[in-house]
Amino acid sequence: MKQILLFAVFSLFTFFKGNSQGRIVSGQVTSQQDGSFIPGVSITVKGLSKGTTTDRQGTYKIPVTDDAGVLVFSNIGYGMLEVPVSGRSVIDVKLAESSATLNNVIVTAAGIRRQKNKLGYAVSTIDAGQIAQKSEPDPIRSLSGKVAGVNIQGSGGIAGGGTNITIRGNSSLGNNNQPLFVVDGVPFDNSSFANAGTTTVGGGGVTNRAFDIDPNNIQSMTVLKGAAAAALYGSRAANGAIIITTKSGKKQSRKGTEITYSTSYAFEDVSGLPEYQTKYGQGTNNDYRHGVYASWGQPFPGVQSMLPTRETIPHQLTRQFSAAVFPQFYEADGITPIQIPYRSYAKENVRNFFRRGNVYENAISISSGNEKGNFTAGISRTSNEGVVPENSINRTSINIGGNIKLENKFYASGAINYVITDQKSPPIGGNSGSIMSALMYTPTSFDLTNNPYENPLDGSNVYDYTGLDNPYWSVKHSPSISNVDRYYGNFVLGYDPLPWLNIQNTAGFNAYTDRRLNVRGKGSSSYPNGSITSDDIYRQELDNTLLVTASSSINDDLSLRAIIGNNINQRLTNRKVFYGDNIIVAGLNSINNTSSITPVQLQNNRNILKQRFYAFFGDVTLEYKSFLTLNVVGRNDISSTLPANNRSYLYGGVNGSFIFTQALNMARNVLSFGKIRAGYTKVGNEATPYQTLNVFPINNTLGASGVAAVGTPFTPAGGTGTNIITQADLLANANLKPEFITELELGTELQFLNGRIGLDFTYYNKKSTSQIFEVSAAPSSGYATQILNLGKATNQGIEIGLNLSPVKSNSGGFNWDISANFTRNRNLINDLGGYKSFSYGGTNGTSSIHIVGQPYGLILGTAYARDEVGNVLIDPNTGKPLTSGALQPIGNPNPDFMLGLSNSFSYRGISLNVLFDWKQGGSLFSSTIGNMMSRGVTRDTELREFVIVPPGVLGDINTLKPLLDARGNKIPNNVAMAYEDHFFAGGMGPGGVNEGSVLDATVLRLREISLAYELPKSFLKSTPFGSASLSLSGRNLWYNAPNFPKYVNFDPEVSSLGVGNSQGYDNLAVPTTRRFGVNLRFSF
């Protein structure tokens, strides 16, 4: 490989040698609008086809033979400009942006800038205006609905909750499917570490670290969707890449000084709560019962009913607490509970628990520069207080950056960022300390708002549900705290030794420490002693990229650019987890405040993970007459995670574009621009570290999970402590090979009526082969999980982007732009190397499963037993449905299609932007809805005073075959049951068999509205401000999930497992929020 590269380097140099001739005219091209340099401007001598392009500083050199010649400057997105040479040797020009802009230069992989109209693959660019000041502190969520091919799934309404993002479906069966984030040329870790040990926060509450990027500091985001676009990043961009240029990292200089200050304030509320029934109180079987967390009790006084009612009930808290604790709930004798009115609190219980949250952002940035260089600096602070009391996330970031052009053909730039992100979360995630465990189905007659939640004697939990903590108590006593310090930056040194040659090295670092503390408060009813887990995560990434770029014209029609490069990368995770048992003094959240501290082992004791790779790559672009472009990319990775004989792997691809409108000189009055593109690329992917060797962890916890887990060192009764080693659960694979993704991408971009209508269509077919994934092993082989290296999965899809400008007028008139994007992805597991299926992940007795011939990651759980035509089999003894013998796939979480529709209106300084999105299909296993139905709390189960005979046929409980009558016919179900039992455990409704809690998560949503007003310049004349704008924004203002029970008002944009490949689960997630904000922006 090295020889080939060397050969390539030498041939390039000899190739370009001596290509200059005649007198040279040079100069610099800048933007008329903002003075920034414009690279990639095509410059030709009029009448000749010979030409050149500007470099990244906007400078050019072109040989001319005739002093009377005319230079033609043109660039897509800018007007064309003709300048007579008139004997000058330096010609600087300013180009004006044309109205029919085609987003000209974009940053592709490895910082390579290319003109978008010449790319052989689809990319999407989002600029600052679409992300900042939208009342959304999470940069990933701010992309929702804006980019075709991108699927974003938030995990609910926790401030700083995880966000899952996939591009063009899931390709890897077991490895990471999140795209690679690259900030200013350096990979940016977007991990989401699940809490270790005795966790109180489920996956959904854990922030993914892309949150550390402040949307206010983003200059632009480029989404590289396909393998073709990402080939140069190699392995890690196999799932696409999101290339972020920050304001401090932007390369182009800008003349003059600008100070920008922006501020915004938004408030947020829970976006939807169920409509609770207010007719029946706590209890079961139409009877009032203390302590029962269902609302199938007696009707309240005044409710029209055939059932008896009651006026009062004994105070609920007297069930568990004596007069010594709460004398006020007892009569004078201290024994008889007082009677309290029997009434409904359903309307206020849950509503009162959630508070009004807010998002408050302040950012100031300065930028100053001249031709030689510039300097930027910024500081910003975002604080988000969530709708759950005590839940907040705050992010403070400071960035400094600059670039300079040195005298001796060198240039340099650098940026450094420091981010502090502090999150405090309540316990969520469905376990016994979780605030959501019972909140949504609090018994309707229990006054959650006003009843005490702390024991006045010792501060311990007070609730009427044994074993669960009162949510008010949990938020106060059982916080999870995460303090992240993140520092990242880069140093770029470039050298332009020859006009056609550029050498550039980018060294980058990106590291953070996340110091977490998970507290289970003292006096918790799940564990009265309380505990504190401290979890220090250190993550570091070092990356260096060296690029040698040669570009020149070969002849009049043909130009070539060749890049060779080298990339070295190291990633390190070092995590230290300690469990402190028995909090000594309640309320002091320090691990030293516990009576015994033991180390916690992660899965297979993988506390330290270190991996490296280095790679050589090349990228050659041939351009013919600026309408035909061919791009060939190759890369060879050498990864530490693979065994020595397989660690080096070569891949690459080819793509091209053809602007036929230009080539065929077509009339431009209808079809003003037309391009077709095609690409075929293969990308390799490495493994995660340490999967090639079986190991023996020391002092692992042994036994099954939960109460059967025996901690070590083990001290038997009357004995001394014994240390142990045990074989790790993971069956390693000594012959791992890299996995590969090959992708065919075809597309076209068309513009009609001078850009009034734009259409971008892409078809892709992505195949993933020899997948490396960790799946359940046959336990009898000796292992719980195994690393496999096989299988094939495909993702096929289309992406359509459509832009319309129905009303267009120049300079400040009324403009209306419509931008729509449509995504449809179909994935299929083709082969699992002889296996039929593999399961992983999941929650609440369900798991995710890959099945050959089925889409990715189905939900596996208990299903109704059915006859051959699909009738549910009913147990003749109970009238309840029978459960299938084995677990079955019961839902497909992958959406059918996604549609984003954005309408922008502008008139003078006023602009209005409305973003609507629609996610069709995709299943959600919702334990929230299952519980609400089976506990009888929403209006869906209000009409209840009757018995029902659920549809189905009677079945044999052993054979799971239909029972037949004397004549051999199936017997329709004839067992009536109370309406309540229909929903209660094992019943037909949600809350019974898992299948009953799987719902179609189709959702329509008004995602974002913003109304902005740019103050007229004349108005600002007497102020220090150069410009000022004011905007109002709203997020998630309306949604409708039509296939959910009518009154649950549930927003399916939740994901209790947070970021990862196991999707489609709601395990009592925190509901989503709705925000309204006001934003102000001044520049001086």
Partner: protein, 531 residues
């Protein structure tokens, strides 16, 4: 120009220099967190702890099926699923047996015959349990990792054949050790390395296996048992093959029943049939086995049942919020509390379960009540006597059934008493102990025939084996004894085998294509020794 060319060459040579150090740079995939070589003295205790830890679900589930306790409503109604016993199956294979195989391999290589013997005996015990519970199981090709990711299931009868051989091998291996200890004491949690104890365990295990197959191969069983009864069997309570949990809370070494029930949330109900069986027979063990949180709350939160709030087997109704009222595990074997409060409605004729000397009341239990240092009895001294009694009554063994019955009861009573005394409870007075044994021996003598005597033996073994549901589940399938209480609302027939782990059925391609069929017939297919 030349200068620039030099620069480029310099750059290229930099590449080459870099290339030569590449191998070192990239060779970093050796796990820095874990060891890759085995130390026998660290691996052996791991197999013992993980066997006990992984037994919880199996023990609790089978204890439910045979009405020792009620761990889950659906198992109490005899309805199994692929996750009813998966934790135990998965853990036995992926933690315990793989470590045992590694231990056998490594210790054989190092000629550490003491370790070889113990590992083989543990393997034999665990596999006999797997066969008893599931019938056909992976054996010959199990625990091979990469070499066989999909081990075949073989018949339980074939496994049993190999286990007899394996036990004899282990005895021979132990014989190669001249010292009285097979290994340093700290490496062996169960017997502290005692060679004598392990040899007694080996013979007792053989005794148990011979007895289990007596219905299908009486001659072999008889010959086998006869060859063992005069030999080296477990003959003292201190020689019990028992896993003893610890009292440490962090790391948590406590008995899982204590961990599960001595807290706010609760999983179990006490079985009303066991409670009544002890109560009605004036059995002093009731105060040791069951602890009441409330002296008046009776069956299903009524005021019936003498203040013992348990559940009848097969009760399908949902649980009310009764975690502070229901009765829970007592001091034996879970390491909880000894119930020293007066019991309602004790007949005045009672001599052993009385309110004499009671002090204090009931209480709502919490994590600091009791030591948690409970035990998991696997093969006890008492069990050995009961096995001998059963064999003597049903086969032509040279053994005295009556004496063995009496010895068995005595051994169990004193074991319970000693354990309680050591864990903050109260020892059984010796008049109570001997008196109760005397009462049972009179019942034995009054029994009209061997069937009635066998019922007494099996009933006493059933009570004595509280804490080990597997043994009793196997006994019940072989003898249909003791008489179990009819279920309130059963959902299925009495399971003759347990359901396989869902994970095994999905992940093992040798069975995955017929998973559903394989699973559903488990309920109704007897294990090979069952007739």
């Amino acid at each position: 120009m030349l200068f620039k060319r030099i620069k480029i060459y310099f750059l290229i040579s930099a590449f080459l220099v870099f290339g030569s150090s590449c191998k070192k740079f990239i060779d970093i995939n050796n796990d820095p967190n874990n060891v890759t070589t085995v130390q026998l003295n660290l691996l052996l205790p791991s197999t013992q702890i993980s066997m006990a830890g992984n037994m919880h679900q199996l023990n609790s589930g089978t204890s439910t099926i045979i009405q020792h306790t009620i761990f889950s409503a659906s198992l109490s109604r005899l309805q199994q699923t692929g996750t009813s016993f998966d934790d135990s199956w998965n853990g036995f294979y992926s933690q315990t047996l793989i470590d045992i195989e590694t231990l056998i391999k490594e210790s054989t290589k190092q000629q550490q015959w003491g370790y070889v013997a113990v590992a083989k005996l543990q393997k034999a015990y665990l596999y006999s349990l797997l066969v008893d519970m599931w019938g056909d199981v992976p054996f010959t090709t199990a625990s091979l990792g990469q070499e066989n990711r999909n081990p075949e299931f073989i018949s339980g009868a074939a496994v049993y054949e190999k286990l007899f051989v394996l036990i004899d091998e282990a005895i021979a291996d132990a014989g190669k050790v001249s010292s009285t200890t097979l290994m340093p004491a700290p490496a062996d949690i169960i017997y502290r390395g005692s060679k004598d104890a392990w040899l007694r365990m080996a013979n007792s295990l053989k005794l148990k296996l011979f007895n289990v197959i007596r219905l299908v191969d009486a001659p072999k069983a008889t010959a086998g048992i006869n060859s063992l009864i005069s030999g080296n069997l477990i003959n003292s309570n201190s020689g019990d093959f028992t896993f003893r949990f610890g009292s440490s809370q962090n790391p948590n070494n406590r008995h899982p029943w204590h961990r599960s029930e001595y807290q706010g949330a609760k999983t179990f109900y006490m079985s009303q049939s066991l409670t009544d069986m002890l109560f009605n027979n004036d059995d002093p063990r009731l105060r040791y086995y069951i602890f009441r949180q409330n002296a008046t709350a009776g069956l299903n939160n009524s005021t019936n049942s003498n203040g013992y709030y348990g559940r009848n087997p097969g009760d399908g109704t949902g649980g009310p919020a009764d975690q502070t009222r229901r009765a829970t595990f007592g001091i034996y074997p879970a390491g909880g509390l000894y119930d020293n409060a007066p019991v309602n409605n004790i007949p005045s004729t009672n001599m052993f379960l009385t309110n004499a000397g009671t002090a204090g009341g009931t209480k709502v239990v919490g994590v600091s009540d009791g030591t948690g240092a409970g035990i998991m009895p696997l093969i006890t001294n008492a069990m050995v006597y009961f096995i001998r009694a059963e064999a003597a009554l049903t086969l032509t063994t040279r053994d005295n059934a009556r004496q063995n019955f009496i010895d068995g009861v005595t051994a169990n009573l004193s074991s319970v008493s000693t354990f309680a005394a050591a864990n903050g409870g109260i020892a059984m007075s010796s008049p109570t102990l001997t008196g109760f044994v005397g009462k049972l021996s009179r019942q034995y003598d009054a029994a009209s025939d061997n069937n009635k005597k066998l019922e007494l033996v099996m009933t006493q073994k059933y009570i004595a084996t509280y804490g080990n549901g597997m043994e009793t589940y196997t006994d019940y399938r072989r003898t249909a004894l003791p008489q179990l209480r009819p279920l309130l609302s059963p959902l299925n027939a009495f399971p003759l085998r347990l359901y396989y782990s869902q994970a095994e059925l999905i992940s093992n391609t040798s069975v995955s294509s017929k998973a559903s069929e394989l699973q559903t017939v488990q309920q109704t297919t007897p294990v090979f020794w069952d007739k």
